[in-house]
């Protein structure tokens, strides 16, 4: 038995190594692409901003809100790399009774990496908290967050085992909300009150976790999760280099799907239709929406405070617009190798033209929406130069520079194919 367990542990290590080996060449391409330079720039800019902030925390700085917004995700997020593949349902499932050894390796890996991230965020937050007038003892806070982190991992595992998708989502949402509440309590209220609240929440959740039906070992869920993680890696690499085609993960996104039937029916809209569906429902759409929300929030804060006469918001807008543009560029790789592209009776240059049309519409919509929170507070506050400049720059880029570049790229890629 112990020997069989050891063999599974070896399998785990081999798979982890194989994955590292698989992604290494892509990391090298990323390193050569100028992305590290962009990251360093971002790092330097954030470091300057950060040290400026802790030297002189403004009295109206949303101390507690920032703490909750940054600490909640790193405490709740509990990714699990299991390296499981669909074929494991045939080959590893017979050894389910020994899978504990295998899974423990995954859990340990997940706990270590996500705890390092959480610790880093906590260490960055502590000086802000102390200088911003936070009064609670940070050592006690650290212990509480450690407990929350452990509970988060436990909860995430229980959720993975739940048989029904709806229960899983409900519990995950509950866990995130309660964690946010507990963090808020630890930052704001006397320690004993916060501790009491935390233990009540934990007991409540622990009791609730007993209610839904569970699977002994959630094979399908873990395989699906592993597949999604892999896809994320590859869609990130896809921004720098051609990657093997991985089928996209799909979400219905009803709040955007209503747009699809509004695309005019007709041969010269067929590809607009297809790529609009791809944009709305694949991971790219999800990432763009998250970027839009985050970018909107950060730019709004910068605009509301009128940092650097409004140019703070402009910089934040530019950074998020850049990342969103980069992300949208990945859309042309979705369905790149589909057989229908060659079968449908549509000329190739027509396909390119339709794609460029969709790209322009999507980018214009996204960047215009992002412009609102970055600019309205400034315009209302009487700062005109920054918001008008970024609007002008955005329009020139989206309507003139980007379409020409995109067409060139598409032509080049079509020749390569």
């Amino acid at each position: 038995m112990a020997e069989a367990g050891a063999r599974l542990a070896v399998t785990w290590s081999e798979r982890a190594r194989a994955f590292r080996k698989e992604i290494f060449p892509y990391l090298r391409y990323m390193a050569q692409s100028g992305f590290p330079a962009f990251l360093s720039l971002l790092f330097i800019a954030s470091a300057i901003g950060y040290f400026g902030l802790i030297r002189d925390v403004p009295p109206d700085f949303p101390l507690i809100e920032v703490g909750v917004v940054f600490l909640t995700p790193v405490l709740c997020w509990s990714p699990l790399r299991t390296w499981l593949a669909p074929a494991d349902v045939v080959y590893l499932m017979p050894r389910e009774h020994e899978m504990n050894v295998y899974l423990n390796r995954s859990l340990r890996y997940s706990v270590i990496w996500s705890s390092i991230l959480a610790a880093a965020v906590f260490l960055l937050y502590v000086p802000v908290y102390q200088r911003g007038g936070g009064e609670n003892d940070v050592w006690l806070l650290a212990v509480a967050l450690l407990l929350l982190k452990g509970a988060g991992h436990y909860g995430a595992w229980r959720e993975r085992r739940m048989s029904w998708g709806a229960a899983r989502i409900f519990f995950r949402l509950g866990r995130w909300l309660l964690t946010a509440g507990v963090i808020g309590a630890w930052l704001l209220y006397p320690e004993w009150q916060a501790a009491l609240f935390m233990f009540i929440c934990m007991a409540l959740l622990a009791a609730a976790y007993r209610l839904p039906r569970n699977q002994r070992f959630p094979w399908e869920r873990l395989i699906q999760e592993e597949e999604r993680t892999r896809k994320r890696y590859y869609s990130a690499f896809g921004m720098f280099i051609d990657v093997p085609v991985v089928s996209a993960s799909i979400a219905r996104r009803p709040y955007l799907s209503w747009l699809l039937p509004r695309i005019r029916y007709g041969q010269n809209h067929a590809y607009v239709y297809l790529y609009a569906a791809s944009l709305i429902r694949t991971e790219i759409g999800g990432i763009l929406i998250r970027l839009l929300l985050l970018g909107g929030l950060v730019s709004y804060w910068a605009a509301d405070a009128a940092t650097l006469e409004g140019w703070g918001a402009a910089i934040s807008y530019a950074i998020f617009a850049f990342v969103m543009t980069l992300q949208l560029g990945g859309l042309r790789y979705v369905n790149r190798y589909t057989v229908w592209k060659n079968i449908y009776p549509l000329p190739l240059d027509g396909q390119r033209e339709q794609f460029a049309r969709l790209d322009r519409a999507a980018l214009l919509t996204g960047l215009s929406i992002l412009w609102l929170p970055a600019s309205l507070p400034l315009l209302l506050g009487g700062y005109y130069v920054a918001p008008i400049s970024i609007a002008a720059a955005m329009l020139i880029y989206v309507l003139a520079i980007r379409p020409a570049r995109l067409r060139r790229k598409l032509m080049l890629e079509a020749e390569e194919d």
Binding site: S247, R252, Y265, A270, A277, V339, W340, N342, P345
Partner: protein
């Protein structure tokens, strides 16, 4: 599309494959000197063992592979001559369903309608009819990724039928289909055939092929071992006139066995 069908009816051949030698690599051709044609209103069964060259032949017709020798004409034109005319003349149902994960059943039909230039009004009626006929109404809003293999195959078939082209190229259409699905497909094929469309269908279900097809192409090791009506296949296999089924003849042709 219907006007195109009229033109086709007047034409002699919808599909003409002449002296086709080809495959994936110029060093090792898979197909050798393939020669056949299909007329409007004809249903042709393409049969052969695994690896006989059926799918490679189909890929050449689709224009996904380039012939080393010979040529393929659809609707009287080669792909290089008139890509749009060539491509709008046929619809293709692949062996394993290839759908877009991000589209629902209904959206696939809409995309096919748009791609093939089906007029809006016709699209609405045809899509509705097809959804009902293939028992897919409850699944119309389901994503392709959530469908069973048979249902995915149905979506492929429905998309092809929706386009209503002069030529259908159908690769192993019965895999994974439930009995009702097979029945609906065959009924529909008979119907489109009557309306003048041509069908090239590859399948291993020889009894169905025999019952529904007008003529047959037996492929073996990249060559055509026999082609024509059932009598031609039988006599090529050395059967007396009026004796032996397609299966018997096929067995003798490809395995060299005594049936």
């Amino acid at each position: 599309m219907e006007r195109m069908l009229d033109v086709m009816n007047k034409m002699d051949k919808v599909l003409q494959v002449s002296g086709l030698t080809g495959g994936y690599s110029p060093k090792r051709p898979v197909l050798h000197e393939i020669e056949f044609s299909i007329r409007p209103g004809e249903m042709v069964g393409l049969i052969g063992l695994n690896g006989a060259g059926k799918s490679t032949t189909i890929k050449h017709i689709l224009g996904l592979l380039t012939p080393q020798q010979g040529e393929v004409e659809v609707a009287g034109v080669r792909l290089a001559q008139h890509p749009e005319k060539y491509r709008s003349a046929f619809a293709y149902v692949p062996e394993s369903p290839v759908l877009f994960d991000e589209l629902t059943v209904e959206e696939h039909l809409r995309l096919a309608g748009m791609a093939y230039g089906v007029p809006g009004q016709d699209y609405e009626t045809r899509a509705e009819e097809l959804l009902i006929e293939f028992q897919m109404v409850p699944k119309r809003r389901a994503f392709a990724a959530h469908l069973s293999k048979g249902m995915r195959q149905k979506v492929m078939i429905m998309s092809a039928l929706l386009a209503s082209p002069p030529l259908y190229i159908i690769d192993e259409p019965f895999l994974g289909l439930d009995p009702l699905g097979i029945r609906s497909l065959l009924d529909r094929l008979v119907e489109v055939k009557r309306s003048g469309a041509a069908i090239l269908m590859s399948s291993h279900i020889l009894s169905t092929v025999e019952a529904y097809c007008d003529s047959f192409i037996v492929m073996h090791q990249g060559r055509i071992a026999a082609q024509g009506k059932l009598e031609n296949i039988r006599s090529a296999a050395g059967f007396q006139e009026g004796t032996g089924s397609l299966e018997d003849a096929f067995y003798r042709l490809v395995a060299g066995g005594e049936s």
